[in-house]
Symmetry: none
């Protein structure tokens, strides 16, 4: 960024044009082929306007993701823990793979070399989802569906890990049935064997 632009004088039409152009270009060529130059041209906006409001290409795309992700915001709670986890996992899968090349994975990659972007990514995209995930687990715990000493971090790793596993290796995302299998296994892992249930869980 050049200097503090701090102003409510920002022109909303430019902001929208940039985001729209970015979305289109991402869909057409993928995040990897995206350039500021092209965004500016497509949006009918000067490059300076982009640099004034966004520190990097990744930041523009992050704003884009924000808008898309905001739609599916509210955490589900149907009472059926497995089903709700299935819903949350599906949402992440859809976010990561709307098309063959998702802007989200691009931003994740770029964040590796851009600490500011990485922070924004965590704060705005990742941590809220983790929080909701743990909220749901906590409610299940309160209702006795999970032991009091269930390790939520492990649950997070075990359930979301496979998604990134496949993402990294360029494999297809898990289908719903496999998701169910995963969830079943993980819930079983969180619940110690029944013959020790009383002793272990209440300790």
């Amino acid at each position: 960024m050049v200097k503090a632009p701090n102003a409510p004088r920002r022109r909303e039409s430019s902001r929208l044009a940039v985001l729209t152009a970015t979305r289109e270009l991402c869909e057409e060529n993928g995040y990897g082929r995206l350039t500021i130059e092209a965004i500016a041209a497509r949006a009918g906006v000067s490059k300076m306007t982009i640099y004034r409001w966004w520190p990097s290409k990744g930041a523009v795309v992050l704003d884009l993701i924000d808008e898309a992700a905001a739609v599916t915001a509210d955490p589900p709670d149907t009472g059926d823990l497995a089903a709700d986890l299935h819903t949350q996992l599906s949402e992440v899968i859809n976010l990561l793979t709307p098309q063959p090349t998702s802007p989200v994975t691009g931003v994740i990659t770029e964040a590796q070399y851009d600490p500011d972007l990485a922070r924004a990514l965590r704060e705005r995209l990742i941590e809220p989802r983790i929080a909701k995930f743990k909220d749901r687990l906590r409610r299940a715990q309160e209702q006795g569906q999970l032991p009091v000493d269930a390790d939520f971090d492990v649950a997070l790793d075990l359930l979301f890990g496979p998604i990134y596993h496949r993402l990294a290796l360029h494999l297809g995302m898990p289908d719903p049935d496999y998701l169910d299998t995963l969830i079943t296994h993980v819930l079983r892992a969180l619940n110690p064997p029944p013959h020790r249930l009383d002793g272990a869980a209440t300790a």
Copy 2:
């Protein structure tokens, strides 16, 4: 690539200089900041020489990974399944993070945009390790340490997933204690409790 160079006249010293320069630059700036120009300069090699033998930047790094992967020792089998899994997971973690910025980390993350690279990565680096992992599980199964219907793919996902999870989100790799916790959970997930499963745990 320009034309088929097929020749045993290739100069080994140039090959090594390129790989060494690439490794150094990766460690210094990360894979994302790597340029052919810089490799050529550091290696004292002409750009043409690089383009003659490698189709892309990713391919050079892949050769680098090959070297790293070749070091792999034989799969451990001490009789203690949990300990052996721990060893295998640690080896992968060390491969991915010998330094803060590892070429391997970068090439895996970046493989999102290069399907060829991703495939080569799977074939040369990932699948051999998966095979060894499943071998070990199979032996454990034969010795009655795992049920006959244990799902090895799920085991793979649950154990390796967390590593990629952290890789993608640019978090630190799990420490040995946490690895133990993970393995304990996963083994528990693979071993369904002998009875009372429905009522107590997954309901």
Copy 3:
């Protein structure tokens, strides 16, 4: 220019701030490095205000010159023609080079590309001085110090030409001694020798 501002509501403080900033920046970086942006910033004035009142960068500098030119004293007439010419030439030299980099120098050199600026420059700065110069020559002529057919345009060219010559070629201005030499030569050129001209000199 944007639109006719015709208003006596113009704020004098802004006008002065612009002129002062322009003078300072000219002296610091030279006319060629002058930017409207920098003038506005230094003057604490918006760019719009500058564009409203001056059609171009050159016009601002021209106003500056006007101020400098207004200082001009009355034409000297001490009775000594050579001394008076020396005085007039020195005044022009001082106007052009009060500092190493003078706004006037720059605007004259740059006037090549702005006919309007060049015309304004002639009318406001140059021609008044030419008029005074010719006045002085005319008085000398009336007093018999110059022949009745002395060519004043040639005199103008010969006396002022060397100044522009050095200006164009970015050389230092003539010192007083050299000025005397010049004037001596030119007066000699205007006064044809009473006899033997053909035979001795120009043959």
Copy 4:
């Protein structure tokens, strides 16, 4: 310039294309509107190629002038001093005003802010002409057409000054008749009055 390109590997066709494009663009829009971007586009050459071989826009134009000026290289010596001076002055006038806006005046202007360019301009364009001018005067002096103490610097100023005088003030260049008048005056200035010739010139 970026780094030392020192190479006879320079492609002559590119050099010519750049100079040709520069000439055309100068003629079409004038030196002031000339941009490196446009030269590169018109010449079908990358910007880097221009920056590699020329330190600035002015340097390109200077090369252009060099070629044009090299044509009229040899100093005239017909035995008629006045006529030869006329020829030399005309050549300079033509160089400065081939069209309304000459590249030469542009380079002269730019040289004010670019010491390197100014030096190149002096060495390659100005000083050779001054040398030839003084050569001619020296020959005339040896043949007794000028006094032994004739001041060549003054002669230079008086003869070339008027050209720059008019150039600076955006006036038309002197016509041949006026040139003759000027030369006559200057030669007269250089020749002290006949009745003091012996005493003054030999002193």
